[in-house]
């Protein structure tokens, strides 16, 4: 229970169905850390804030269910925050939500839930889980509300995790969930949706990384360097490769006759390469650490719709296994796609069904 509308409605729905439930809030990040990131008047989109915990506890009291806050700060820092920083410094654009799902929520948290006697966990994700008798596999599909669908962040879930997980909101649209919240009389029914990466105030991840290094007393490796165009001409200077992600247009501070975009970041040479919009188009990508969900690992090419970032509209492609075990694949899009970004995920769909996904190399 995050203290938001979605997980609060989950608790209310399960209780209405007569399930015995325990409310848990994960404390993931100590908000007293990195105080310089919080502007006067407070930040938006902060996770684990006292207000959110207060809201979650208030909902639990309203429903009359046992409620606890559990501390996963150490695991979150090791498994989510540090890899997030490492990825940016290495010129990749990470997805901390997926790491949190893979290593905290559906791993350590699931274990804790089992340990205290819970047979299943339920979360407020917009996604659906079903069991396919023919293949004997748990399958995942997009939530009924495609605009809220969160399967892109859930591609790492394994069969044994899906077997013990419920997504009660998968069948609802967000307006329906808000209506349910009002119907259940939940005190958070009118609370605004949360946005951004939960532990990064105001979405300023570069400032977060700089502040984290200051706090740890670590001098960050020098990541500033040149901005060059695709012909190798030096156009300017930048303050660090971690300030840039592929496809980014703002913050380049380079004068040019046409709009320039980040085409690539090269951490080894500390260079940021910029070019025109069409330079961002690519027809192929390779993905690693594949997890197959709704189908068994493939041993031949398949057709799928592939999504390369959360807000991307999945595009038709052919997916071909590299090697025998399908832990790596090559994706060939029918039409070139804009800004394929290392560190993001490639998630494969057949209509609503989530076939699997991996990390873009």
């Amino acid at each position: 229970m995050s203290g938001g509308v979605d997980s609060s409605v989950v608790a209310g729905l399960l209780q209405r169905r007569g399930q015995r439930i325990v409310g848990l809030t994960m404390q993931l990040w100590n908000q007293r850390r990195l105080p310089e990131l919080v502007p006067e008047g407070g930040a938006t989109g902060r996770c684990c804030s006292l207000d959110d915990v207060y809201d979650a506890r208030h909902v639990a009291q309203h429903l009359g269910i046992p409620y606890y806050v559990v501390n996963f700060e150490a695991g979150f820092e090791e498994q989510v925050v540090k890899p997030f920083i490492d990825d940016y410094l290495a010129g990749r654009t990470p997805i901390p939500c997926t790491l949190c799902n893979n290593f905290i929520k559906f791993d350590q948290f699931l274990d804790l839930a089992s340990g205290v006697g819970a047979s299943r966990i339920a979360t407020g994700h917009y996604a659906r889980i079903g069991f396919d008798d023919a293949s004997g596999r748990y399958q995942m599909s997009r939530g009924a509300d495609h605009s809220k669908d969160q399967t892109y962040f859930l591609f790492g879930l394994k069969q044994e995790q899906l077997a013990r997980t419920d997504f009660p909101l998968g069948a609802f649209t967000k307006p329906e969930v808000r209506a349910l919240a009002r119907e259940l009389g939940l005190p958070v029914a009118a609370k605004p949706d949360s946005q951004e990466i939960c532990f990064v105030p105001n979405g300023d991840y570069a400032a977060f990384i700089d502040a984290y290094f200051r706090e740890r007393g670590i001098a960050p490796e020098k990541t500033s360097g040149e901005i060059r165009d695709t012909q190798g001409r030096v156009l300017g200077e930048h303050a660090g490769v971690h300030h840039f992600t592929i496809g980014q247009r703002r913050g380049l501070r380079v004068a040019a006759g046409e709009p320039l975009y980040v085409i690539a970041t090269e951490p080894a040479s500390q260079r940021v390469i910029v070019g025109r919009g069409e330079d961002l188009l690519r027809a192929t990508l390779s993905a690693k650490d594949m997890n197959w969900i709704s189908i068994a690992p493939i041993n031949q090419s398949i057709r799928a719709r592939v999504k390369i970032r959360n807000k991307h509209v999945a595009a038709d492609a052919t997916v071909t296994p590299i090697g025998n075990d399908a832990t790596r694949v090559e994706v060939h899009f029918d039409e070139p796609q804009r800004a394929i970004t290392p560190g993001q995920a490639a998630v494969f769909y057949d209509e609503d069904l989530v076939l699997g996904g991996g990390w873009i190399e």
Partner: protein, 344 residues
Amino acid sequence: MARRETGALLGCEPKELVFTSGGTEADNLAIFGSVQANSAQHKHVITTAIEHPAVLNPCRELERTGAAVTYIRPGSDGLIDPADIRGALRPETLLVSVMHANNETGTLQPIAEIAEIVHEAGALMHSDGVQAAGKIPVDVQALGVDLYSISGHKFYAPKGIGALYVKNGTKLRPIQFGGKHERERRPGTENVPSAVAMGKAAEIARGALGIEKARLERLRDRLETGILARVPDSGVNGRGLAGRGTSRTPNTTNIYFDGLEGEALVISLDLKGFAVSSGSACSSGAVEPSHVLLAMRLAPERARASLRFSLGASNNEEQVDALIDAVAESAAQLRKLSPTYASA
């Protein structure tokens, strides 16, 4: 009446007591009140790393405002070595604050011995007695302290009332300002109903002290023996070595369960109807590893795998036996799922 009975619990005169809103205010008054009553040359304070936040945080605040504070660490048995206090004393040391009984382990500190050393050096001795008063016999004269904090609800007075013992002649400046109440040491209209209740609670606690202490000790020992017999790889923190155990309050025990998360065990037991605690709650209610156990140099994993059990007047043998069963069942269940625990 309230002052006389509360004083009788501590072995002091009624006029040596200042009523406060609780233990935290008593500690703050002792620390800031004595530091501010003395000259600027005496700005060194000694305390321990295992104090309650009501002492630790005022000390951190002192540091922020220019005073020096030394934090003494205990041995692995949880005891502060008086020799370490002696070694930390400086000519400018003004105050030494060492808790009487630790809130997480129940370990009793050698206050009388420390007070003697402190007075030889010309400093003041404060002790946070919140966990001791009402549970063990307390005599502030015999302890030799100048300042001693208590909290009423720890001996069944209502929450929101406490007191600071201030030995006759001890210089103390108020930390809030107003009228001349409490001999000009704590302005504000007295909380008479709560003070009366604390007086009555003190009277009852003092009357039952001998019997209740022995009864709780038997229950505590039954709990420890039962858990240690039923749960492998468990043990008592802060009990000292076999044969030369530390003195403890009768109601508290702190037990580690290697290979599991104390937080999960707390939840599991709470769902079975037993309220125990692990570490210290941070502001959200999540649990942080106990600073007391870490200061005793327990490995962080063991500190996280430790639980505090507190017994009280309403507990009996039947409940203790049910708790032992619940702990054994929950620990076994959690260890079955623990990636770090492999039973021998």
